[in-house]
Subunit: 564 residues, 2 copies
């Protein structure tokens, strides 16, 4: 272990003595004329913001990091060379990881129990200490962190709705962290703020709102996006709740499918509605909301004196991948004057596909939409949008007009300072990777990816629907890439249906999953749902996955589950 004593010499700062300034004081300008731009260009040698200096290409050298410490890196005196060499060494580790991620002869994971990792694996020590470690040790820690992690981009990682490792998105994230700024004002994130605006507008156009008008934000995940939708619905109908609290409103109720994401309930709890006022709607056997049940429950709530406020329609449910019938739900929302939110965290991506977007038909009638590009569209985590049809309502709901951030007397158009619309103050730049991927792939690139994933899941469905040892959780071609099924080991195949079989079957998926993780060959999710015992939920969102990986998964389930 390369834990050396820190050296006595501190990393003293070496401010450049050159305090260069443009030759003249240029006063407040609303417009840089062309002439002005020319003048600015002429100053570049003096004071430059130009990054396109192409001769300064890096050269990688063999560096001994065992005697180098964080304090020897920039901004330390002479810190430039060790900084670049250190970053290149990290990049070497990362690019090797990237290569192996796509290599099917590597494991998806190298599983260890928490206590094993906590005890320290071959010198990988998670404990923090008072004294610094050498950069050599830091590089070892980086390698070990990846080694004991899970390759979510591996072609055989099917465990989550988010999977895959998009190279353009990755480059975008590296740039984002290098820029290290914050979305609250145009002042410090001019390019990112504009990218967010343009991208949200494109997304609203795809939803079908006239001219892409409306509002929106990128938020830290679908649960927060869904929470926004409930907040703004409440603000729309009962704006006084913002100042007076929930006691200013009658007893409000929210409606969502029993198959919907738990974040609607979480929002109900957090925002002061109470989970009992989140009314769960019955679904058909495919997991789609039954509109008549919604209407009956609205009437029932009204009869009890409650006030229906909000309906969530799920476009792509987490487990079944079901799309609620948005148009029929929208009819009911219009009839009863309710806010219609569409949770398209998982299914929103299908709007990009001419072949599949009909599954979200009616979404243009929604008041708000959640859409997570980090799921079906392969954008790195986190990237979730809350989109709102009515302009200004996000700001109305959330703004507090903090003087220290949102000064009205700035020199630029402060309507671009969007931070006060958010419940966050600082907000991570989630837009750039997505914008860059869209540039690099075009809308058609996303469409091809989505169509391919849906084709693959249909391939899986066709392969197992009549295969011996498989039972589908619901009949018919899946609407999304979710394929839900039980694997029935030979020992259970002849057994009569009943409690004993149920109990045994309930234990099959967890056992197979545990063995998969131990052997590290593949990962797929399982869960119970309602009265259905544990079943596998296969999802495809990974662009690296192919038919051979689907075949591998089935072979692997059978190999591991055969003797259970």
């Amino acid at each position: 272990m390369a834990t050396s004593e820190p050296r006595a010499t501190g990393g003293d700062q070496d401010p450049n003595s050159a305090n260069l300034r443009p030759p003249s004081t240029r006063f407040l300008q609303k417009n840089n004329s062309l002439e002005e731009k020319g003048r600015l260009a002429g100053q570049k040698n003096l004071l430059s913001c130009d990054n396109s200096d192409r001769d300064a290409r890096f050269r990688r050298t063999e560096t001994d990091f065992s005697n180098l410490f964080a304090r020897d890196l920039l901004p330390a005196k002479n810190g430039e060379e060790p900084t670049i060499q250190f970053l290149l060494e990290v990049v070497d580790i990362l690019t090797n990881y990237v290569k192996k991620t796509f290599d099917r002869s590597t494991k998806v994971l190298d599983f260890h129990h928490p206590h094993q990792l906590l005890e320290g694996m071959e010198g990988f020590n998670l404990e923090l200490s008072d004294q610094p470690e050498s950069l050599e040790q830091i590089l070892v820690d980086c390698r070990d962190t990846l080694k004991y992690g899970v390759r979510t981009g591996h072609p055989r990682f099917f465990n989550q709705l988010s999977s895959g490792l998009d190279i353009i998105g990755l480059a975008g994230e590296w740039l984002t962290s290098t820029a290290n700024t914050n979305m609250f004002t145009y002042e410090i994130a001019p390019v990112f703020v504009l990218m967010e605006q343009l991208t949200l507008k494109k997304m609203r156009e795809m939803i079908g709102w006239p001219s892409g008008e409306g509002d929106g934000l990128f938020s830290p995940g679908g649960a927060i996006s869904n929470m926004y939708s409930v907040m703004i619905a409440r603000y729309k109908y009962f704006p006084e709740v913002k100042t007076k609290g929930m006691s200013a409103a009658p007893r409000l109720v929210l409606f969502t499918s029993e198959h919907s994401h738990y974040s609607i309930k979480k929002a109900g709890a957090a925002l002061g509605f109470g989970t009992e006022n989140v009314i769960l709607l019955s679904t058909d056997e495919r997991g789609r909301v039954i509109p008549a049940d919604l209407e009956a429950k609205i009437i029932d709530a009204k009869q009890k004196g409650y006030v229906p406020l909000f309906v969530n329609a799920t476009a792509g449910s987490t487990v079944y991948g079901a799309f609620d019938p948005i148009n029929e739900i929208a009819d009911i929302c219009e009839k009863y004057n309710l806010w219609l939110h569409v949770d398209g965290a998982w299914g929103g991506g299908l709007l990009m596909s001419r072949k599949h977007r009909h599954k979200l038909s009616g979404i243009e009638r929604a008041n708000s939409v959640t859409w997570n590009p980090h799921k079906m569209m392969g954008v790195p985590l986190q990237c979730s949008a809350i989109l709102v049809r009515e302009k200004g309502i996000l700001a109305g709901c959330n703004s507090m007009c903090a003087g220290y951030l949102f000064q009205p007397d700035k020199q630029y158009d402060v309507t671009y300072d969007t931070g006060d619309k958010a419940i966050q103050c600082g907000r991570h730049v989630d837009i750039f990777k997505f914008w860059l991927m869209w540039k690099a792939k075009g809308t058609i690139g996303f469409e091809q990816h989505i169509d391919k994933c849906l084709d693959l899941s249909q391939y899986l469905y066709n392969k197992i629907k009549n295969r011996e040892g498989y039972e589908m959780v619901f009949d018919g071609v899946p609407q999304h890439t979710n394929v839900c099924f039980w694997y029935i080991p030979p020992s259970l195949r002849g057994m009569p249906h009943g409690d004993e079989r149920r109990e045994k079957l309930h234990r099959v998926a967890p056992k197979i999953k545990a063995m998969m993780m131990e052997s590290g060959t593949t990962m797929v999710g399982y869960q119970p749902q309602g009265n259905k015992v544990n079943f596998f939920r296969m999802v495809v969102s990974n662009p690296a996955a192919t038919q051979s990986d689907i075949d591998f998964l089935i072979d692997e389930i059978e190999r591991l589950g055969h003797d259970l």
Copy 2:
């Protein structure tokens, strides 16, 4: 512009035909014995998770990206070489940016108005289209994005509480985005989940809770962390609100300083308390809460029949950098049985300094603490912790037990699946960069950084407190690195105090700031506060800043403001 027609050949997938598996099926194991480890090691050549393959070092070649597209990168057939070359090209852009960030002869920003950037700057087109762009264009877009952005790591960027570009933190973020996983379960983020646990424990030890016991989470920023504190306070005293909503509780009131961060009010609005029930406390002229005012307002609220629930004490206010007297506030909270939260988003870092931690004295009496390592400790955005003294209450407050994520029948100890404690579902990995920085610097490294920043701000204070043309907003040495002052241009120096002077002075800081941004030399924040007209708020958290940069700022203010 290199917008080529996309080529007709798609990036066909090339699944490796090698479907290698370990020779035997290993059944569910709770422990890998040493023998087992040996056996696993023996399998490495077959199926490996090893990243330390040192011979595969990258070689950079000249690549023509004008005919390459995203679809030519991994997972495409023969995609490895273009992938590595593309990533190295991006890294070249990023390392050049890093070098220039620390170079004082470069600008902090190259300011343009929104309409200018939207119209397209020299071929930098923000619009998205249906067709893909070449990788060459993508690289140009990356350069332009940085070119028109703001260098928040520049030694003369003082605009935000978060500033600086820490190289270790940056490496940590690059790794995090390459690992691209999610904090909700141990299953897919084993190493990161453990790092979070260990780091939160260290932070709780620093707060002074016995043995570092308690609970916590990293959340997407201080505003959300503060929102958590209000939610769990409500859950502690009125757990039935989770199921029944705010109508199950009496009229609850929250207390926070008139100088506190606006997120407490935002939380009050969002969570259903209403902003009118967020009672603002008076402060002394240094911006610190007056404890007697708190007690008087508690008594007043009780007399009106309201129920005091929660007090927020700010440790490091946003504008003045004031530390509320925690011990005196804690006495009152104990007396009236209220939840005490300490918002140390900005000041929490001082706990790392033996010299300055006394400013948070009493914090160990808090029920919850917000602490943002992304502010004073220089960790890249976002990195904010909510820390809670009582174990289990976060889960109690937020859990919904989603079956598809938090299966109880996994093979490992599922108490490590922490996702259900959060209001988020997916949660970005914010821990790794912070953990890596702590490893690389040690606690003493953070301490040195913090002490240095406070020394620098004292240097600024000493420099201007009696300087001609300056007025301090409050008297005395600042508690944190915030130095608040007016610059009085010569034209106002002889003017009698009164409305005219106030109006003119109010316009000085915005004008100077606008000129700073136009010339790109430095950035510092300003705002009004209460009845005080616009003043500069200087803060130091950037490790690259030195005394010469402070000198530069003052020179620059005088240069730009002299003739106003």
